[in-house]
């Protein structure tokens, strides 16, 4: 198993370019930005994970974490989560809901579907940056994923 393949990929599912830029900016401080794969809607996220459509040739294993926005074009965050958890390969894949709102129905549904964390993006940029750093550091560095799923 090659070392390079063990690069820890973070999948960011986010439709807002501004948010993408701010997220990458925050993660870059921990040098995690270059490990981030960005998809811009729910359907693309599913294609990425199932290696379908434009990602059919990806063949690069599972990400260490999926940062999943709730409000997304095509398939929304909870729908993507349902697809992922519906497949045996992804039952143990860490998924963090990363969203603007604290709407209770979203929270309940996300936890019911098996998300690993639910993070509300703070309006304050400093807090936002802090939150992203903690997230990236935790999932990409500290957290130990289940062995068979960390590489393809």
């Amino acid at each position: 198993m090659k070392k390079t393949h063990r690069l820890k990929r973070i999948l960011l599912v986010e439709d807002s370019e501004n948010d993408i830029e701010m997220t990458l900016e925050a993660l870059s401080e921990y040098h995690l930005a270059n490990q981030v794969d960005v998809v811009r809607d729910g359907a693309e996220a599913v294609d990425y994970l199932f290696c379908r459509g434009t990602y059919s040739g990806r063949n690069s294993g599972l990400p260490v974490v999926v940062l999943l926005d709730v409000k997304l074009p095509k398939l929304n965050g909870t729908e993507v989560l349902r697809e992922i958890r519906g497949d045996a390969r992804f039952t143990r894949l860490p998924v963090v809901m990363l969203t603007s709102s604290r709407e209770e129905p979203d929270l309940r549904k996300s936890y019911d579907l098996g998300c690993n964390a639910y993070v509300v993006k703070p309006v304050d940029f400093a807090q936002f940056t802090e939150a992203l750093k903690i997230l990236g550091c935790f999932w990409a560095v500290l957290n130990e994923p289940f062995a068979s799923e960390q590489s393809a």
Partner: protein, 620 residues
């Protein structure tokens, strides 16, 4: 219904009975009179007949008596003849007696009996042994009574013919009875004597002697004559009563009234005459009259009853029953029931008219009621429809509101985050290009964005408070307040606050929402007492009849009461942001939550001295 009808019939029956009684009542005196008259008639009739048979009876007795007197005369004339005492020439005597019989054709025999009962001489003697007559009653009685004795009606031992014998003592000079002279009267003479008397119709004559032997009976002899029947009730009655009248069963079993007469010898009654008339005959006339009277009376009563019944049926009973039936039908819910017009009497006519008017009114009222009921049902159903529509509208509105607040929370916050984020990136990356003024402008952008973020958050909470379902529960106020004070501790850690928690009643409320109320009120108190060296915050409650009133009193900056009603409005503030920070949504939340619990909110204050905020909750 059935029971009422039965009552109706019972009424009719009772009415008829009373009517019959009414008609019968005047008939009673008539009946009494008729009966009285009949009794009188009977008595008179009876008296008349009894008198007539008594007369007949006496007449017969008298006729009989004539023969008997005749015999007595003969015997009393012969007896003193002295030769009879001492005579020994029997054939001589026999001849004399035979001559006597020839002279007195009414008699069968004459003779002389020795004192021992042997026949000394007689006109007729049987051949051969002459029987003794010692046991004959006329013989014995003549010796005993020393007077005239009548014997029984019997077949003579000497003559062998039926006859009535008489005896008379023959005494010697000193008065001792030596012999008895006797005479035997032909029995048919007795009957003949009786037959000469005209009898009243249906009457029967019976002649008997003291032994109960029937001497004669006519006009119908039957088989009785000659028989000794002392056990027959007639015989017993006759022998007991002897003279006068008696009612008895006759020999043939027919009940008769008898007039009795008797014929005596020297000492006792010997022959009895009973003339009887059947009691039927006795009362036949009276009964005929009574029956005629009764028939007439009954007939007139029946006619009266018929007339009264027809009258009652036509004039009263039928109309009343018709009215009652109509009333029953009406009572049973048939509002079309009407009584037929009654023309028989004005009062009943009025009654039926009144009844019909009442029934019509009832029907009209029922129709009104039905119409009202129908319209109410219409109203109800349309109301229900409206409620359903409104509910649907409300549900739709609520869903829209939900969607709206969802969009607000997502889509309004994202640009704010970008505003703050890129201002920060600009500040970080272009720091050397920006002068001090430029950097301050960036700060303003950031602050405004953050402020708006807070406003949006609070607005969403406010909106959620309005929509969220109430989960009412018993809420321990004191524990909630303590929890809130502890939770807010970071806000006043550096300050000196005197808490005064008095009696706090538990209430029926949504605990989470109630906690939000206390957070807002207590944090306000903490906030607005900030200028005080020692803040005093008093929290308490009191009960009225219908509500529990809670209050939070502070010694803070207070406010001008002129603006008191603005306090609870959304985004309404009485202090500048630079003075006391805030969004102006806390008290609006308090009011919304308390209103949803059915309570009220209000406040009192004196500027510079403090404020008291109140809210009330209805009692359980």
């Amino acid at each position: 219904m059935g029971q009422k009808n039965a009552q109706g019939y019972a009424f009719a029956r009772k009415f008829r009975t009373q009517l019959i009684v009414l008609v019968l009542l005047p008939a009673i005196p008539a009946l009494v009179l008729a009966l009285q008259r009949d009794f009188q008639q009977r008595r008179l009739e009876k008296d008349r007949i009894v008198q007539s048979i008594s007369a007949v009876s006496r007449l017969i007795a008298a006729n009989e008596l004539a023969y008997i007197k005749n015999a007595r005369q003969l015997l009393t004339t012969l007896a003193p003849l002295s030769f009879l005492v001492h005579a020994t020439n029997r054939p001589f005597c026999d001849v004399h007696f035979q001559n006597l019989v020839k002279l007195s054709p009414d008699f069968l025999n004459f003779g002389l009996i020795e004192s021992n009962g042997t026949v000394f001489s007689a006109a007729v003697v049987p051949h051969g042994i002459v029987p003794s007559l010692a046991d004959r009653s006329y013989f014995r009685r003549a010796i005993e009574t020393r007077g005239f004795a009548i014997g029984e009606h019997q077949v003579g031992r000497l003559t062998e013919q039926k006859g009535l014998n008489f005896g008379y003592p023959v005494m010697d000079a000193v008065g001792n009875v030596q012999r008895v002279i006797f005479a035997s009267l032909r029995s048919e003479r007795l009957t003949e004597a009786a037959r000469q008397v005209p009898l009243p119709p249906s009457s029967v004559v019976t002649i008997l002697d003291r032994t109960g032997t029937i001497l004669s009976r006519f006009p119908d002899e039957g088989e009785w004559v000659g028989k000794t029947v002392p056990d027959m009730s007639l015989v017993q009655n006759v022998l007991r009563v002897q003279e006068g009248t008696v009612t008895s069963l006759g020999l043939d079993g027919v009940k008769r009234a008898y007039a009795l007469s008797s014929i005596h010898d020297d000492t006792a009654a010997a022959i009895f005459v009973a003339v009887g008339v059947p009691t039927e005959v006795l009362f036949a006339n009276a009964n005929r009259v009574l029956i005629r009277n009764l028939i007439v009376l009954t007939g007139s009563i029946l006619v009266a009853l018929c007339i009264a019944s027809i009258f009652a049926e036509r004039v009263f009973l039928r109309p009343v029953q018709d009215l009652a039936a109509a009333a029953h039908r009406l009572a049973g819910g048939d509002l079309q029931a009407r009584a037929e017009a009654i023309r028989s009497t004005a009062e009943l006519g009025n009654l039926s008219e009144t009844f019909n008017t009442m029934a019509s009114r009832l029907q009209a009222r029922d129709a009104d009621l039905s119409a009202a009921h129908a319209s109410i049902q219409n109203l109800n159903s349309s109301l229900e429809k409206k409620v359903t529509e409104r509910t649907a509208e409300l549900t739709a509105a609520n869903q829209e509101l939900e969607a709206f607040s969802y969009s607000v929370s997502h889509d309004l916050r994202a640009p704010l985050r970008h505003l703050d984020g890129f201002a920060e990136l600009l500040r970080r990356n272009q720091k050397e290009r920006l002068d001090e003024k430029g950097q301050r402008h960036l700060d303003v952008i950031s602050q405004a964005a953050r402020k708006m973020g807070i406003l949006i958050d609070e607005l969403l909470v406010f909106s959620r408070m309005g929509r969220q379902e109430l989960m009412k529960n018993e809420a321990g106020t004191l524990s909630i307040v303590r929890e809130v004070i502890a939770q807010l501790e970071p806000d006043y850690a550096e300050r000196k606050i005197e808490w005064n928690l008095s009696d706090l009643r538990p209430v029926e409320a949504d605990p989470a929402m109630l906690k939000q109320v206390w957070i807002n009120l207590i944090s306000n108190a903490i906030k607005y007492t900030r200028p005080r060296a020692v803040a005093r915050i008093e929290i308490g409650s009191s009960d009225t009849e219908t509500e529990t009133i809670f209050h939070v009193r502070d010694n803070g900056v207070g406010f001008d009461m002129r603006f008191a009603d603005k306090l609870f409005g959304v985004f309404q503030r009485l202090h500048g942001d630079n003075e006391f920070e805030g969004t102006g949504i806390g008290l609006a939340n308090v009011r919304r939550i308390i209103l949803r619990h059915g309570g009220r909110t209000w406040a009192e204050a004196v500027p510079g001295e403090g404020a008291t905020f109140y809210f009330s909750l209805p009692q359980k």
